[in-house]
């Protein structure tokens, strides 16, 4: 190792590399306060508020997982509903076996990883557009397999067992907390993953795949890690959807609409930023609440916003904010200080 021997102690002593952005102390305090408020919400707010927020948390989790997949792994999937569905059905199946449904949610994530390993062998043989279409087809195949299993209700779906002995208020609060934990866990997972050495590799893969492999990055392995993490996150989200709705319907849970939501949220929020899906999910959720009464016009408007964002804001709203203010809630970069300059 000729080059590393040349590293002088002088250079080592003067070098100081910082991982935090200027604003990150303040933003960390603000975020902790926000989490504390959200966690305390079931004690102070009506259950219709917390029930609605469960949907927001699920959207944040799903969008974060899609952002990890497409924004960092370069894997544009339109088939993550495969794992939402498998996760949802796992919870149903575990509950039938007597597992407490809330405890079945993390187990659903594990189930999805187990399914994702062989699925990735298949899907990774495809590239680009073919990968996108292929993942959708795989999700459909999973749906068709599930509706053939009579013990989980076949084509008409099934209710969730093991929830009737819980008080309704307590159940609402528990579901809310589990959903909040899911959203926080997915964001934390993205942050920790991207902050490490693997994260820097993923960002390199995102920017230039050929060059990434020529600097020593095992591109396939990096993508597989991202795919498995994303499957786990979507599976847990599917589980939360099930404990929230108390039943599962195969057509709804395996619907490609989930992918449309994820893509929309990430595109308007900002692809390739941890903050992007967070911001995008809040905006999407707001639009949903505001426009829910307008029927199909609501979808037309969503489509128009999505197109406008893709055309004029290629890096989403967070990309715009970041360029203007330099703000970063989850700094994953390296900043060199302490040089002579």
């Amino acid at each position: 190792m000729t080059i590393s021997q040349m590293v002088t102690s002088r250079a080592a002593a003067a070098l100081d590399v910082s991982r935090a952005a200027r604003s990150s102390k303040l933003s960390a305090v603000v975020m902790l306060a926000a989490v504390a408020v959200l966690a305390a919400l079931p004690f102070v707010a009506f259950s219709n508020v917390t029930d609605t927020l469960v949907n927001l948390f699920v959207l944040i989790a799903l969008a974060s997982m899609w952002n990890l997949l497409a924004g960092f792994g370069g894997l544009v999937s339109v088939g993550q509903q495969a794992y939402i569905g498998i996760g949802a059905y796992s919870v149903i199946a575990f509950a039938d076996q007597g597992v407490q449904p809330y405890l079945a949610v993390p187990l659903a994530a594990v189930t999805c990883v187990i399914f994702a390993v062989p699925t990735s062998w298949l899907a990774f043989r495809l590239r680009g557009d073919y990968f996108a279409v292929g993942t959708w087809v795989i999700a459909e195949v999973y749906r068709l397999l599930v509706v053939r299993i009579d013990s989980v209700g076949g084509g008409s779906g099934k209710g969730l067992a093991g929830m009737s002995d819980l008080d309704q208020t307590l159940r609402g609060a528990l579901t809310y907390w589990v959903a909040l934990a899911l959203a926080l866990a997915t964001i934390a997972a993205c942050y920790l993953l991207l902050r490490g050495r693997l994260g820097l590799s993923l960002m390199a893969v995102r920017d230039e795949e050929t060059a990434a492999s020529s600097v020593g990055i095992d591109v396939r392995r990096a993508k597989r890690v991202v795919y498995l993490v994303s499957a786990a996150g979507c599976g847990a989200a599917g589980g939360v959807i099930t404990v929230s709705s108390l039943s599962v319907n195969p057509d709804a849970i395996f619907s490609v609409q989930w992918s449309a939501y994820m893509i929309f949220i990430v595109v308007i929020g900002g692809i390739g930023y941890i903050e992007g899906p967070l911001l995008g999910a809040v905006i999407f959720f707001g639009l949903q609440q505001l426009l829910a009464d307008y029927g199909s016009w609501y979808l037309v408007l969503l489509g128009a916003i999505g197109m406008a964002a893709a055309l004029w804001l290629p890096r989403g709203l967070w990309g715009l904010m970041r360029d203007r203010t330099g703000l970063s809630l989850f700094p994953v970069g390296y900043f060199v200080r302490g040089r002579d300059a």
Binding site: T2, M203, E208, A211, R339, A341
Partner: protein, 258 residues
Amino acid sequence: MTEQALLHLDGITKRFGRVTVAKDLTLSVRPGEALGIVGPNGAGKSSLFAMISGDLRPDSGAVWFQGRKVTDVPPHARTRAGIGRTYQVPRPFEHLTVFENVLVCAHQGAALKGRQAWTHAMEVLERTGLAELANTPAGRLALLQRKRLEVARALGTGPRLLLLDEVAGGLTEPEVLELVEVVKQLHAEGLGIVWIEHVVHALVEAVGRMVCLAGGDVIADGEPMGVLADPKVRELYLGGGPETGLADEEDRTDEEGA
């Protein structure tokens, strides 16, 4: 002989349809040797690099690195084994800073961690004159800085063999001299270097041996001035044929042989 060689190409052949970019080509590089490669466009120079680094698989023949057959080894593993390359058309990680561009090489290519990786990355940036730009996103760099970053990334992987693909093209004369100094210094430290270059005078300064490729094969091999004086080489560059002018070739940026 494969045991002693740093790099040994054993009769490699590669065709794209009717175009042959390597025809039963055999070539060896000793440890610490600096080899220059010249040749007209379409001679198969960049394809040769692609086969050494693993981006391209030869149809037949074998690539040996440090006594190990690497023909079936994927690019990232070859880099980890000690082959560092640059691209003719720079391919920076645009949304990463210059420092991060090199740091990821130190992590993945040189298997360094933490502070060791930081110091190594910074050291490489100082050598390549990019230290001042450490925190600049690579997407904002001008072409010359991008070329330097290519060299910096290759060095970041801690190579034993450095493949330079037209890194002097488009540089001003003082910058070429600066680059030659860097290459000579790396060579003096024992690094094996293979350098494809159209800026022939830079090559003559920096390498001890030169090879001329044409039609996918070696047509001259030896001491640089001797190769340049070879009648076959002179004919290639100065004689008839559609692709002869040096200046004309420098303007071309697309990958050869593709």
